[in-house]
């Protein structure tokens, strides 16, 4: 699922326009973002705090099995990389 500081309405718009079927969640008060130490202060529009990009693959018990903390926000994990990492969940 995708998590950002966008409001639920904004995420719903995005989801509809792009035809996403996965769950998009909002973390407007950045509570989850801070708990995961992903806060990027002032990097959003108008100086808002946003999340730095990161992906976490959890197993069914909530244990972290794979993470991707990209050094460059243009470079994100590709689907093949995530699918490869997800094999450990079998």
């Amino acid at each position: 699922m995708a998590i950002s500081v966008d409001t639920p309405q904004e995420s719903l718009e995005l989801s509809k326009q792009a035809g996403y079927t996965f769950t998009i969640l909002s973390d407007q008060n950045t509570e989850a973002i801070r708990r995961y130490d992903l806060l990027h202060t002032g990097a959003g529009i108008n100086g808002h705090d946003i999340a730095r990009p990161a992906e976490f693959l959890l197993d069914s018990r909530g244990t972290v099995r794979w993470i991707n903390l990209t050094e460059n926000y243009w470079v994100r994990a590709r689907p093949e990389q995530i699918l490869e990492a997800a094999k450990v969940l079998q």
Binding site: Y36, L38, G44, E71, W74, L89
Partner: protein, 148 residues
């Protein structure tokens, strides 16, 4: 006439196409071609046998400078600006338990990590109420910057 052609021979590649690959080879290649054409055009503009030398030199100089600025801007935003992110040393490591989350889905409903791990395929789909569906093998959390 010749000076006009000299102006038009400078390709201003303001190509800041979204970088969809890990390293912008295509964009850099385009910039390389643009720079080569620019150099070629500049040489024509500054050639001693030009009919109207001054407009060609001024135009050539201006366009060349603009091209270089665009290239510098591109290199800065892609290689420098995009890396200015916090180190996130406190983020959960492999093997650690993921901290709990309480977030809002697109319908305004509150969702926790425990619910995400136990309910199949998202909280607001038909599969969520299907008792025979298998719980997910895991959850992929994608934190993104937003504003897409």
């Amino acid at each position: 006439m010749l000076s006009l052609f000299a102006f038009l021979s400078y390709p201003l590649l303001f190509v800041r196409a979204a970088v969809t690959r890990d390293f912008p080879w295509a964009n850099l290649l385009l910039f390389l071609i643009a720079m080569a054409l620019m150099v070629w055009g500049l040489r024509r503009a500054f050639a001693p046998d030009r009919a109207h030398p001054l407009p060609s030199k001024i135009g050539g100089g201006v366009l060349a400078t603009l091209s270089l600025i665009v290239l510098a801007f591109f290199i800065f935003t892609v290689f420098v600006w995009a890396r200015l992110m916090p180190a996130s040393h406190g983020a959960p490591q492999v093997g650690q338990q993921a901290p709990d989350l309480t977030l809002t889905d697109t319908n305004g409903k509150t969702v926790t990590l425990a619910e995400l791990l136990s309910s199949p395929v998202g909280a607001n789909t038909a599969a969520a109420t299907d008792r025979s569906a298998i719980p997910p093998k895991g959850v992929l959390l994608i934190f993104y910057r937003g504003y897409w």
